[in-house]
Subunit: 200 residues, 2 copies
């Protein structure tokens, strides 16, 4: 059975992909793109290295604009990112019967409540799967075991999270400074391949 995993090239969504594959799903990795900046490239690179099918999921720029407005109004990204993730899940569910992401137990954003998940599944006739059965310790340990990881500071060339296109969008409208203060660079672990003994 087909399953789509919303994919950033990070540990969490990569683990979810492996997880579903080992349960027998035929997995497509999807990275949303709003047509503003080609931020999907690092995710596609990670997907290729792991041998998964990768697709760019085209989503209306309008939704990115809505998220950017929320973030500028709030002065912090949480609600805007949550909004965007829900929109992307909806788009993915129009093409797939099973849609998953790498949201884990201790994540706060993006995160759907149990009620939102139930509504999403019923409304779209889709099964939604995430990693909320796993805490960060377990995820880190499994990721170290399975993947070659690269720790580095985030920049627009090595990260496929929503924030890259949101930053770009806000930067174009309100200048780079506004964008950078909302999304300061941070250290990320990007998946750059399998550990030798795990590549099958």
């Amino acid at each position: 059975m087909k399953a789509a995993v919303l994919y950033s090239g990070g540990k969490d969504s990569s683990l979810m992909a492996v997880f579903l594959q080992r349960l027998g799903y035929d997995v497509d990795l999807l990275t949303a793109n709003f047509g503003v900046y080609s931020s999907f490239k690092p995710a596609k690179e990670s997907a290729d290295k792991l041998g998964f099918t990768h697709r760019v999921l085209k989503v209306e720029e309008q939704l990115l604009g809505n998220a950017a407005s929320m973030i500028l109004d709030d002065g912090f990204p949480n609600h805007g990112i949550n909004y965007l993730h829900r929109q992307v899940l909806e788009v993915a569910s129009s093409e797939y019967e099973v849609v998953a992401d790498g949201v884990r137990r201790d994540d706060r954003v993006p995160k759907l409540s149990t009620e939102e998940i139930k509504s999403f599944e019923d409304r779209q006739d889709v099964e939604y799967i995430n990693l909320s059965g796993f805490g960060h310790q377990t995820i880190n340990r499994l990721a170290e075991k399975l993947f070659k990881l690269k720790k580095e500071s985030t920049n627009p060339q090595n990260n496929s999270d929503y924030e890259i296109e949101i930053r770009h969008f806000i930067g174009q409208k309100d200048g780079k400074k506004a964008a950078e203060s909302l999304f300061p660079p941070h250290i990320q672990s990007r998946v750059i391949g399998w550990r030798e003994d795990e590549s099958k």
Copy 2:
């Protein structure tokens, strides 16, 4: 790495066992027993059919007594079962660094809150994993795909849930009628083996 799965022989805990094995864990299936009735036998049978190591986790009868008192006071089993599950997790965590169960997204009992999980992991220096990333539709579909299942009405010979020993305990103290009204029989799906194409 070793992982213990609290195991009943049902779909959920069987799926958790398979997940963890396919992620590379060396899985032991544990069924708690309080020394009152040998209710672990159906679970052991399912574990054997799937080829997993099965162990009976001996737990003090006193804890079963505490749960039975809670259930008789409340007039319904939820709090008592939740209490017992926590106690069993604690016992398992004294022997294993990773402890898992088959609790899924839409389960109500037994269930730990996110705060309880954090406290449990920190206090016992253990990683706890459950199936809360999965809803019942997904679990049912995966279980049908992987396992031979037997649908039947629960009885003391075919079920390894906590309720069997609790019923036995209450039955001895307060008579069979009291025990039966608290735990009416229901339809269960027991795992009785692999589907041919999934047995590895």
